[in-house]
Structure formats: C-alpha cells, structure tokens
Amino acid sequence: MSSNTDFVLAVESLTVSFDGFKAVNDLTFYVDENEIRVIIGPNGAGKTTVLDLICGRTKATEGSIKFRNKELTRMKEHDIVKAGVGRKFQTPSIYGDLSVFENLEISFPRGRSVFGALVFKRDEEVISKVHEIANMIFLGDQLDKQAELLSHGQKQWLEIGMLLMQDPDLLMLDEPVAGMSVGERQQTAELLRSIIKDRSVIVIEHDMQFVAQIADKVTVLHQGKILAEGSVDKVKKDPKVIEVYLGH
C-alpha cells in the first residue's frame, strides 16, 4: 500500500461502490501543505462523495486516505475532526435554534466529551475567540441573533466561521459561494484568502471565475475518475475537460 509522504493529504486508489455503482473509482491525488485545491466536474462526478470519504461520512470500499500519514478510512468522524480535518457542507448547515454566538461556541475545540460538555465554562478565551472569528466572517454585530434569521450568504459564512473555530489543518468546503450574490462572492473570496494561511484547503466549486481567483491547483473529476489535474489555465485548455464540463 502507500508509503509515508510529506503531503498533508494522500488519497490513493480510493474506490467506493453503492450496490455495484462506483461513485468514486480508483482515485489518487495528493494535497500539499498550504495548498488550495479546487475540485471541479459535472454533476454526479463524485465530488461530494470524495469529501464524504475523507471526513468519514461514507466508508471507502477500497483504497487509503492518509492525513499527515494517519490512515483515516477506519476512523470515526469525530476522531477525524480531532485529527484536524474540517468540512463544510453544500447547503449551509448551522443550528437554527441557537444564536450566532452559540453556533460558534459549539465548534470551540474544548469539552467535547459528555463530561467536558457538562462542565464547560464560557471563559475569556472562548469569548475572545468567538469575537475574533465573528469579525472575520462579517458577523461581529450579529452575535445575539438567532442563526435561523440570517441570510443565506450569512449562514454560509457562519458555517465557515464554525470551521475556523475548530482551526483545522485541512479545510474542505463544498460549494461555499453557491447561492451568493456577486458582492457576497467577492467578500467570500477575500475571506478564503485570509483563512488559508497555515492550512490546506480543498474546495468544490462550479464558478470558474471564482476558481481562478483562489486555486493553486485544479482537479477535474468525471464519473468518479480524475479527468485532468493541474493549474487553472492548463485545465481550462484541456480538450477533454472542455468536452465534458466547461463546454465550448
């Protein structure tokens, strides 16, 4: 099988099949330290499934996923999170009944056991961290608001903020600007650029303009396999990619 590597994430020969249908088929790719990797591809190419596999939501049929040389495929979801992998879902996944402050507080990496949660104290450290993150995600003045009442774009930011509270080494974002206005996209691109210091990021995105703004390297998936990989410009010119995804 795979050997130890310098990569943050090493995905090798990854396959998952649902009743014979291979949603991801013999996939191999590597993510470097502080790299922003964008995964693009047509609907049903297996993009979200790849993220599901990495964060443990779906169990792999075959292959290996190594994060800092730690095998993830047999770990529980919460242990994968503790190892340093954070994941944002496609539709904003926040706690509507809680306030923005409480949403962020829950992601603070302390008191994660039952007992820990019972005796968890909202101390100075937690409060200042929540304020710091809230300001980054443009929600500094909305802390008391019930999260359900936020706009769609604000919810997306809130979920990104929840991930930042976790401070993961590998951050995975599933279509972070979907459904956002042009202005919000611009703000989100800035936000992403500011949070990628000291961590690696995997982004799934359709908006090629946005991809060009942020990507170091692009992986194109098609029918569970890698169709092309490389810089934005290289991928854009690839005839196979134009054929199945970008169009003429």
Binding site: F18, D19, A23, T49, D52, R57, T58
Partner: protein, 308 residues
C-alpha cells in the same frame, strides 16, 4: 424436551404448528401490507392502523348480520361483499384522516405518531360506544367451516387456508400496484423527492391521500379476514400494532419482499415455540429476538446501500 414424543408425532407437531404458523403469517402479512405502504413508502407512522383493521372487522360483522336477517339465501357469499365494503369504509376514513391530520405533519414523523395514537383512542371509544365493550364474532358460511384432513394426524382448518389465499392474493396485487403501475412509480417518486415530483406535474397531495387511503383500505380487508379466525373487540387493534410495526421494520421498511419474509420468520418462530412453552414466553422470546436483531442490524433484513 423432545424425548417424550415419537418421531412421527414430532413430525405432526411440527407440521401442525407450521400450519398454525402459516395462518399467523398470513394474518401478519395482511396487517403489515397496509403498514408497509403507509410507513415504508410514505414514512408515516400510523398508530391507528389497528383501529382501521377493526373498522373492517366491524363492517364485516354488520354485513353478516344484515345478510342473515334480510338475505339469508345469499349468506354463503356475504363475505365477498363484506370485504369490499370493509375496504371502502377503511379507505374512506383513511382519506379523511389524511386530509384532516396527516398532511399537516409530513415533516414531523414523531408528531404524526402521537396524533395518530390520539386518533386510535378516539376510534376505540367510538367502537365501544357503538358496538359495546364485548367482543363480537361473525357466523361463517358453511363452506368456510370445518377442516381438511391431510393425513391421520394432520388437519388443516379451511378458514385458515382461505386467509392464506387472501394474503397471497392481496400481496400480489400490492406488488403489482407498487412496482408495475404508473401510480406506484408516482408514489415512489413523491417519497424520494417531493418537490421534484411536484415540479414534474405529479399531484403530490393526491398521491399522498390515495396512498394513505389504500394502506388503510388494505388494513380494513385484513380486519375483515380476521373475523374468520377470531372475535373482535374495541381494543383488538391495539394488540397487534407493536407486532405489525416490528414486522415492517424488521423486514426493512421500504421492501415489500422484506415485509413478507419477516412476517414469515416471526410467525414461524412464535408458533413453533408456542408448543413447547407458554404463549407469553414464546411471544417474549420472539419479540426479544426481533429487537436484538434490529439492534444489530437496524436497517432491517432487506435494504439498499445508497449515499445518504
């Protein structure tokens, strides 16, 4: 435990218990089919399912009385009409309940459970008020009485055989409806993606109502069939509801074949054990066994693996 029986006696015991099990199996299948449609396809928990069955039983009881009083010449065939009436009555009530209650609760399954439990209490009391608290039985036409002597030691009750045939027939009809008809496709489409089904022109509200009514109607027919092998009281429905839900869940809620297979294994286990220990213990052991298996394999016996 087997020592005191000879081998031919043992064979007869197993055969007779097997037949008793088959009858129990048919009853379970009839009960579970309606529920498999409502719970398995629509995801709605109907705790009043037993009361819909009892409605069918009471309709049969009324029809039987009506025929014996006014149309004694046709008494031998009243059962056919009774079943049709039972279906219509239960389905009509089902449609009404869906319209008044269930449709407001599709996104709150646990609340549906409580509301339908309330409905079941109301129906029970209604039956008690109308028909009295005592259990009633129907007179069977002659051709359904007696039994068929297979060998010297094995005999098959004819009413039991009739229930078996009925269960088989209705299962086939439901299977055809679900997997071969346009309506079945629509139901499955609505279950999988309500918004999309609506967008492609399926009247989701109507599909829901028809599905629910059909499930209730089948429960009515099941109740009608019950009168052939037992008597009916206002609270008879409640006795079956847990078994029925376990049958459906154990089979894997969305699989018709699974429902039938689980009805088979549960009924056979229970009736075979019943011979060697008290009825209550065999019931306890069967239920315990089912619960333990469900804990190990919560998705039931038959399910598909898909991306959640």
């Amino acid at each position: 435990m087997f020592a005191e029986y000879s081998s031919s006696e043992l064979l007869s015991i197993f055969a007779m218990q097997g037949v008793a099990g088959l009858i129990l199996f048919s009853v379970f299948v009839l009960m579970a089919l309606g529920l498999a449609i409502i719970f398995g396809q629509m995801g709605v928990i109907n705790m009043a399912h037993g009361e819909f069955m009892i409605l069918g039983a009471y309709v049969t009881y009324l029809t039987s009385n009506l025929f014996s009083t006014y149309l004694p010449d046709f008494f031998s065939i009243y059962f056919i009409l009774a079943m049709i009436l039972a279906f219509i009555a239960a389905a009509a009530l089902g449609a009404l309940v869906e319209w008044a209650m269930i449709r407001h609760l599709y996104h709150r399954p646990l609340d549906t459970l409580l509301a339908t439990w309330g409905l079941s209490l109301i129906l029970q009391q209604t039956y008690r008020t109308i028909f009295g608290p005592r259990e009633v039985g129907v007179t069977l036409p002659d051709w359904l009485m007696g039994s068929y002597q297979l060998t010297e030691t094995i005999e098959l009750p004819i009413n039991g055989l009739f229930v078996m045939c009925l269960a088989l027939g209705i299962s086939l009809a439901v299977a055809l409806l679900m997997y071969r008809s346009r309506w079945g496709t629509q139901v499955r489409a609505v279950v999988q993606n309500r918004a999309m089904a609506g967008a492609v022109g399926i009247n989701t509200g109507k599909v829901d109502r028809v599905t629910f009514a059909l499930g209730c109607g089948i429960a009515g027919v099941a109740g009608s069939a019950f009168t052939m092998i037992g008597s009916t009281g206002p609270t008879s429905g409640q006795l079956y509801i847990v078994d029925t839900f376990l049958v459906v869940v154990f089979g894997g809620a969305s699989s018709l074949l699974g429902t039938i297979a689980s009805a088979f294994s549960i009924s056979q286990a229970q009736s075979t054990m019943e011979f060697f220990m008290s009825g209550s213990m065999s019931k306890v052991l069967t239920l315990l066994f089912v619960v333990l298996i469900l804990m190990l394999r919560p998705q039931g016996l038959f399910t598909l693996k898909v991306r959640r």
